[in-house]
């Protein structure tokens, strides 16, 4: 991305929408804290929520110091930007814009992008519920956003290897409108890597670990859905027909995914559950994210349907393969992210107001042949491999240095009291005082 300091005409309508969108996306992370918090046992809900809140503080700080610069300014080998070019946002004034055509000031774009980095890190925490030292998590958050999120975001959105001039340039330009690869495939793979390195909770698969507060989960899903309109419709960086299409697809695909999850459950387990509804909502939101503006209404319905059914089936894989992805970051975000990214290859269209970047082509069902599908599969695979390898290395290094796990005693009696010195509810862990972990 080129730093442009001239010929910038402020568009107050677009700018107002982007400030609003940034606020909406920021709300998603506390929403995620409720979504995840309700799903764990009552003795570890505070720790679960704190992993999300901790990410807001730390990643927000990193973003303004070097994160934005390393993502969107300069380029080193197509992998990462230059962290020093806009270090501390020095050199960016109120009158700068990095995307002159949108009429949105650079500082607004920096803020908007910060909220994406924050939620991506927070999403990972669902894979490692109930058992991880808070300090190790916070160190991981800082290292991971630096070595994984920033490179992937640069590669996809900052002119790197997964963008228009990247590894698929002989085929077509990849489509990732709002972050299917950068946010969801990335976080899903990282969750899998952490679950593998850190290991299972004591009693996983044999003891009941049912959600302690399903209304929290529903509240979290509602906040996520609300905030996601900023995530998807805001990714247009403007208030126009394209953002309207993204908004509408975010409504339709999400609703269909919820219904599809419920029907799948009804046939398999006998009941349409509230947890299934909340999960279906998130699966649909994840899947429509990369495609939000690039498909028509029929495409959105198809993506929601496939995501709802596949994610409802995928959450059972952890029991079959024996990895404790506690809150299904893999089953929902990795699988949903891949569904959305790959289905773009079938449903992408430039008809009506639908949008995709220059160099992309229509999907298989819209007369474009297999070209875009090939591009989407290559990009998804590249993101999976990069995120998996680097996250495994980070997780392993932290395992042998700081250590990830709290003691078994703490895990059983409840991590909230031991790590945070408090309990969520009056009747939890009464009379047991364990102080051996100081994160």
């Amino acid at each position: 991305m080129v730093l442009a300091t001239d010929a910038f005409a402020l568009d107050s309508g677009n700018t107002a929408w982007m400030l609003m969108s940034a606020s909406l996306v920021l709300l998603m992370t506390p929403g995620l804290a409720f979504f995840y918090g309700g799903m764990v046992r009552g003795k570890s809900v505070l720790n679960m929520m704190m992993m999300s809140f901790g990410a807001i503080g730390l990643v927000g700080l990193i973003w303004v110091i070097y994160g934005y610069s390393a993502t969107f300014s300069g380029d080193i080998g197509g992998i990462i930007g230059n962290p020093f070019e806009l270090f501390g946002l020095a050199g960016l004034t109120d009158d700068d814009s990095l995307m002159v055509s949108t009429g949105v000031p650079a500082l607004v774009a920096v803020g908007y992008q910060a909220t994406f980095a924050i939620i991506t890190v927070a999403l990972i925490s669902g894979a490692i519920a109930d058992r991880v030292k808070f300090g190790t998590w916070m160190v991981f958050a800082g290292v991971w956003v630096t070595l994984v999120y920033i490179p992937v975001a640069h590669m996809v959105w900052g002119g790197g290897l997964l963008g228009a001039d990247g590894i698929t340039s002989a085929l077509s330009t990849p489509i990732d409108f709002a972050g299917g690869t950068v946010v969801h495939i990335n976080a899903g793979v990282a969750g899998l890597a952490l679950a593998l390195v850190i290991g299972k909770r004591k009693g996983f698969g044999s003891e009941p670990m049912r959600p302690h507060n399903l209304p929290f989960v529903m509240l979290g899903a509602a906040l996520l859905w609300f905030g996601w309109f900023g995530f998807n419709a805001g990714s247009e960086f403007g208030a126009d027909g394209v953002s309207g299409r993204a908004w509408l697809n975010t409504l339709v695909a999400t609703g269909v995914a919820m219904l599809a999850w419920l029907v799948t459950e009804k046939f398999r387990d006998g009941h349409a559950t509230s947890l299934g509804a909340a999960s279906g909502v998130v699966a649909g939101l994840v899947a429509i994210t990369p495609a939000a503006a690039a498909v028509d209404t029929f495409g959105a319905i198809a993506i929601g349907l496939v995501a709802g059914v596949l994610c409802a089936l995928a959450v059972g894989l952890k029991y079959r393969f024996g990895y404790d992805d506690s809150l299904d970051v893999v089953g929902v975000h990795l699988v949903g992210g891949i569904v959305g990214t790959v289905l773009i290859g079938f449903f992408a269209t430039d008809q009506n107001s639908a949008w995709y970047p220059e160099g992309a082509v229509n999907g298989l069902f819209y007369g474009g042949g297999l070209t875009q599908l090939g591009t989407q599969v290559i990009v998804a695979l590249a993101a999976v491999v990069f995120s998996l390898v680097v996250t495994l290395v980070i997780a392993y290094v932290l395992k042998v240095t700081m250590g990830w796990r709290v003691s078994e005693e703490v895990e059983v009696s409840g991590i909230d009291l031991a790590v945070h010195g408090e309990t969520a509810y009056e009747n939890i862990a009464q009379g047991s005082v364990i102080k051996e972990v100081r994160a």
């Binding site: 049912r210 959600p211 006998g270 947890l275 409802a312 959450v315 059972g316 089953g331």
Partner: protein, 112 residues
């Protein structure tokens, strides 16, 4: 003196209470309980994972009565709590050595 204790289905509590009042019982203690008998528990499914919940919620109702009333009170509870389905509960009676009323310090039958 006798202590009659009933473990009943929570949704029968209102009927049992009214029936006991109609039979002249002036006081009782009610508490939440959980357990299982032949009924066993039930299963819950979260994201496809099945949990067997073996303890199910019940209500415990306790009434202190004179010896000669214990059979009547037992019958009243059984009749009012009965649905005929498995899991309806149990009622039992034990002998009580002494009872004291805290307000007055009275002992024995006068404290009932």
């Amino acid at each position: 003196m006798k202590l009659v204790t009933g473990i009943i289905q929570p949704h029968r509590l209102d009927d049992v209470k009214s029936a006991l009042e109609a039979a002249g019982v002036r006081g009782m203690t009610v508490s939440e309980a959980s357990g299982y008998g032949r009924q066993k528990g039930h299963t819950e499914v979260y994201r496809g994972a099945e949990y067997t919940v073996d303890l199910v919620p019940k209500v415990r109702i306790e009434v202190l009565v004179d010896d000669e009333d214990s059979a009547t009170v037992t019958d009243v509870i059984v009749k009012a709590a009965q649905t005929g389905k498995i899991g309806d509960g149990k009622v039992w009676t034990v002998t009580v050595d002494d009872v004291a009323r805290v307000r007055t310090g009275e002992h024995g039958a006068g404290a009932l």
